[in-house]
Symmetry: C2
DNA sequence: GACCTAAACTCCTCTACATGAGTAACGCTA
DNA sequence: TAGCGTTACTCATGTAGAGGAGTTTAGGTC
């Protein structure tokens, strides 16, 4: 019997949440529907609905379940963690014609896909303009895309390129910029890359982001910004990426020398 | 009057949360105590305590307020963001005798301090042993410390070093390992560092972590793991760091070449 | 002044109930 | 068969009230 009533000093709703969490981790409750309804749990644990709901809220916050109004609560089958290694920017990868994202996905044994949301000119927002060292509001090429892993959206990215850099590279206006991606095209057109500067920020998802990446409200997201600097010392591309934090691990290698 | 009762299709508790959120953003409620008590809000919005609590839970989840049992809810004054740059591992910094953490804090114009929680031998946990390439349970040197910024804890780090590496370096057993930190001492003793491999993970804080870093439950944290590899190809130190996610920005520079 | 206690505040947990609203399945009707 | 409504489930929101547990303060005692 699920005797959760032992007065262990712990609130009942946490005891229930822990009990269910353990069942989920032990696969007693398999990914899929499983989770008993609120009414069921009220009976089972002999508590009121409010208490059950608090337990469920707890599980939802920790990302173990997702609940749908009118249907029930379901054990989340977490998408596999995806590694993002700084190695993905090696020139040799570009020359080999690999698209960073798809190659990584392949390695992880999952099917990846990309949906291009927009490719075309936009007026540079202030922050982007600053990073690109162009006047605020200047025309730049924006490439906005949404990445899927096994059908679920995991990552949204927007790249911006100065117009004078992009205008001579027709592939950049295509949905698919070709093997090796944007960076390969840039290098083919005389913009040898020197360094990529990435900045990692973490915050809770906004309403829009929860929708775009189909997250639960309150989920943390990783906001990755990247500036690509050419050998000429110019920032020839910047990229903003939003990822569900629980689905990614970032790897960086830092030389220890001077 | 705070007429929140308009039936805009939106739940009352969200209307109240939005109302308060707006007041916070407009600085009507300044960082500090401000937020009226639940009883006050019950009167003001003419709703029951449950509804007020839900609104407060919402604000807490979005990180706008923090509430303390028996005292009240306070508008959060976000601590200044601290940058963690991969540059902090430059050998020249080490030779200059800078302690990475304190130097960075100084630059940011805040007062930093460190509390050493433990220095001494421990049996290597499985994951640590694997990263250090020593047998599981082997004796290793652990250095556990808590970093403060302007008096509030921001970061907890544990370093592990293989015993045979550490045993000959007496400074590593001191609370303060001296200028340039652990890495400077390692290099002085023949362990030239080649590369640092950092991996970034994000997740919600556990109960213990919320206590250690005095966070609100549900706050995201950054879990940074680092392996320090010597020129000899050996991992001579590993470090696990837990940081409050909203207080840090991580910077990395990645060479674009091969 | 130093200490202790009691009261008055705060938020926290839980109960019990009522109502609303989304979903799915069944069976009836056209 | 195709479409429609009923019904029976699900979770979501809200009320009213009780008692518990931390925190602060005021007042009293030593």
């Amino acid at each position: 019997m699920s005797a959760v009533s032992r007065d262990s000093g712990k609130p009942r709703y946490l005891q229930i949440a822990d009990d269910l969490a353990q069942q989920i981790r032990a696969k007693v409750l398999a990914p899929g529907e499983q989770v008993p309804s609120e009414a069921d749990l009220m009976d089972r644990y002999a508590v009121s609905q409010g208490t059950v709901r608090k337990a469920m809220t707890e599980l939802r916050a920790t990302g173990l379940i997702e609940t749908h109004h009118g249907k029930g609560s379901y054990v989340k089958n977490r998408p596999p963690v995806r590694r993002k290694s700084s190695d993905r920017f090696r020139r040799s990868h570009r020359l080999a014609g690999k698209a960073a994202y798809l190659a990584e996905a392949e390695q992880a044994g999952s099917t990846a896909s990309v949906r291009v949301l927009y490719v075309g000119p936009v007026d540079a927002p202030e922050e982007i303009a600053e990073r690109l060292a162009v006047p605020a509001g200047a025309k730049v090429l924006a490439r906005r895309r949404l990445y899927f892993s096994d059908g679920i959206p995991t990552e949204e990215a927007i790249s911006y390129l100065p117009w004078d850099v992009a205008k001579d590279i027709p592939e950049l206006f295509e949905e698919n910029p070709g093997g090796g991606g944007i960076y390969a095209r840039l290098e083919e057109h005389g913009h040898q890359l020197k360094e990529l500067a990435e900045t990692v920020r973490v915050r809770l998802a906004t309403k829009q982001e929860t929708v775009a990446l189909s997250l639960s409200p309150g989920s943390p997201i990783i906001h990755l910004t990247r500036n690509a600097e050419s050998e000429a010392g110019r920032v020839v591309e910047v990229c903003d990426t939003i990822m569900a934090a629980d689905q990614f691990v970032l790897d960086y290698r830092i030389p220890a020398g001077d």
